[in-house]
Symmetry: C2
Subunit: 218 residues, 2 copies
């Protein structure tokens, strides 16, 4: 029995890595679609989000089934509950990537982000892709130094988020109301990538150390 | 043993109702602070969100403890897992109320929403307060007709969300970039109140009927 259970827990871990890999692709493609006004790529992110949602549902059902069948305690219980929550955060990151792609699609063939904020979104795109990449590696290796780096990327996202507002409000902005709406929402989506990434990193830190470090206000 | 467990499950249900009650107050006060530029009320929402976060953590810990100690199956397991998720959605609604209050505070003594979108935010405020009120009653009574009404309020929030964009983009808008940023984010917060409300209603529906009705894309 224990052997089967261990195999199921290992599978759960592998599925989270696979899900994080898909979210990484989604964020990378959404950013590229946004910055290069690539309609086909935007469409692919939107279509692929259905698969991420399905992975979440599947993982979710298996966690509940494991709880019912194995009645785990201590570490096993902690692993399953954490998996439930990590999957839910990854699913939400997939939704955010879809929102970015939908914005790119709505503005096509125009770019949704233009100067003077384009450079800010290049920074956010790179930081968000790094967050997703670090999540894959953190889920694979449980190396907590990766969690530290991820938290620094989240700080960068917060700074870029603030900079995107400053750029619109410094009196030199000449964009249209539509561009302000787009930039405001897009910057929020990118900021939320970081928040979800940090939340997942905290859960993995908890699994590794057994100590819970409090979430800051979101 | 079963008696103690039943008492604990009942307590869990009562705590969710209490938490929903606090979220209801937070949404109501945040909306009033926003529409009347009431600084003291905004401050109170921001301060009280700490209590909602604490309730969520407490409820969360008790759910995990119940899973470990009682090793529940079937309906009991479903109730505990659903409680975990409902608490997490309620906590997020509290965060959103805090974001609304923080926007009101940042603009004080000016109002954050002005014509021509003020009427739209009055509609959103009323719908969001109704959503929270219905959640309290749905959690108390498990009467699924309340879930239906809640879903209609969510539709209203989606429509108002779309209307807030239309008002800014119809070419007659004379607000500042700051006002566009505020309106864009505030409308998104209100739209998310509805999404979280529907997600909780779906979980309660599942608890009552045993049938899962799929979430639409968020």
């Amino acid at each position: 029995m224990r052997e089967i259970f261990d195999a199921e827990l290992t599978q759960l871990g592998e599925d989270l890595v696979a899900m994080a890999g898909r979210v990484h692709t989604a964020i990378q493609s959404a950013g590229q679609a946004l910055l290069t006004a690539d309609l086909a790529l935007a469409e692919s992110v939107i279509a692929d989000d259905i698969a991420i949602d399905a992975l979440n549902r599947d993982l979710d059902e298996r966690c509940v089934m494991l709880l019912a069948r194995q009645q785990p305690v201590a570490t096993d219980l902690r692993v399953i509950i954490s998996s439930l929550r990590i999957a839910s955060s990854l699913e939400r990151m997939g939704d955010l990537a879809r929102h970015v792609a939908q914005t790119a699609r709505r503005r096509y063939p125009d770019p949704a982000v233009v100067e003077p904020v384009r450079a800010i979104f290049e920074t956010m795109d790179q930081a968000a892709v790094r967050v997703a990449d670090r999540l894959v590696r953190l889920l694979t290796t449980r190396d907590l130094s990766i969690a530290d780096s991820l938290e620094r990327d989240d700080d960068l996202l917060d700074e870029a988020h603030a900079a995107s507002f400053a750029a619109q409000l410094d009196g030199t902005w000449t964009g249209t109301p539509q561009q302000i709406v787009d930039v405001t929402l897009l910057a929020r989506y990118y900021e939320r990538f970081g928040d979800h990434g940090v939340s997942i990193a905290q859960r993995i830190r908890y699994l590794v150390t057994g100590e819970w470090v409090e979430d800051g206000p979101a």
